[in-house]
Symmetry: C2
Subunit: 228 residues, 2 copies
């Protein structure tokens, strides 16, 4: 991994605070950290998008919100509505949770159709990520879910919500195999260390979702100081 | 606890399958069990309400769905929309999650106003329960949250979603103290045994949410067989 790669590591992070008890103070802290470390985005729940937009004027920090989060078991029209509202509140990216019940019962055309409805409802310049909760799926199901996301026009397939177990290198490699440049991969769930982050990126992830982004960047800084 | 109380224990249960990976087969199993044991309701995510309605013709088994579940961090208008859709899909009861970020930062008027909006959007005969995630709150916050639910016209205050820790006897007693007959209490989160169920009911709960309702009823049956 070369120097320029490490130099831009911060731009791989969606800096996340998605727990139920996040309040205004937590959102302010998240945004302060994102500005300080120049993370790609802050990832927050729908009720905080407008407030976050007020705090983040700098265009270099995106706002990432969610739909059907974290269970994916809401109605399709509600996911569509959440997507539209997130965009109009100021989000630049949307992480929607696919219907996991459909995925585990091999209903990929339904997942594709739902994703397409969300994609078509969003402005073209909003990045759509589809969360497939890979830990709940067989490898075949992970491949088919990724294909559904590609067919529906999503920009990313995301391994998980972080609420149902941790991402693995194997999951990222599986999604990367079928992605073939047609979709990017976001890894999320239990990303806590620098080595883990680098391994996920080397396996094919283009984006990392983590609530530990600050600690990971500090780990990198400490390592660079040792090396110099 | 007298005999007639135990004889009607099954009517205290909202028999729940709220995990992300619930599929049609899981919903069918849930409904079969609810019919067999005559539970008060089945509790399911929004995408399954219509299907459940098809399966459950008997009016003695209610359908309970959710809004803003399980984080409570969606926009108010989305919770309202989810409530309306759940009712029109056939739900009889709605468990909405309050905004936990507002509760932990003492914004009770906002919680009350949001709950009122959902209450006013629902048909009058639909039972509304407000989930306050008591484990995340101080005792004072639990009391204030219950008052907000009462003021907004909700029928139940519910201890938690089950996704963030288990209900305690102390929580139920706290809510019961402030309820004073103006609101009922639903206990939920890690309810697994008969003794635990009975203790929660004795502490003041009128309803129990559990995915183990069948095991609990079988425990009761085994105990009755021993006694007879």
């Amino acid at each position: 991994m070369n120097d320029s790669f490490l130099k831009n590591l911060h731009r791989c992070f969606d800096h996340a605070a998605l727990q139920a008890r996040v309040d205004e103070a937590a959102v302010r802290k998240l945004c302060d950290e994102a500005l300080k470390y120049h993370f790609h985005s802050v990832a927050i729940n729908p009720c905080w998008v407008k407030y976050t937009r007020m705090l983040l004027e700098k265009p270099e920090t995106c706002i990432c919100s969610v739909a059907g989060f974290p269970l994916g078991a809401s109605r399709t029209d509600i996911k569509v509505k959440e997507a539209i509202k997130a965009a109009s509140d100021g989000a630049h990216e949307l992480d929607m949770v696919a219907n996991i019940g459909w995925l585990v019962s091999d209903r990929f055309p339904q997942v594709e159709e739902e994703t397409r409805q969300v994609r078509e409802a969003l402005p073209y310049n909003i990045v759509l990520k589809v969360i497939i909760e890979a830990g709940e799926l067989t490898e075949q199901q992970q491949l088919a879910a990724t294909r559904a996301a590609i067919n529906a026009g999503a920009q990313f397939v995301k391994t998980g919500t972080g609420f149902l177990g941790n991402v693995t290198i194997k999951q990222v490699k599986t999604l990367y195999r079928v992605a073939q440049g047609q979709i990017q991969i976001k890894a999320a769930g239990g990303i806590r260390t620098l080595d883990q982050s680098l391994a996920l990126l080397q396996a094919g992830a283009a984006r990392l979702g983590s609530s530990r982004s600050v600690q990971i960047m500090e780990e990198l800084r400490a390592r660079e100081n040792l090396d110099s």
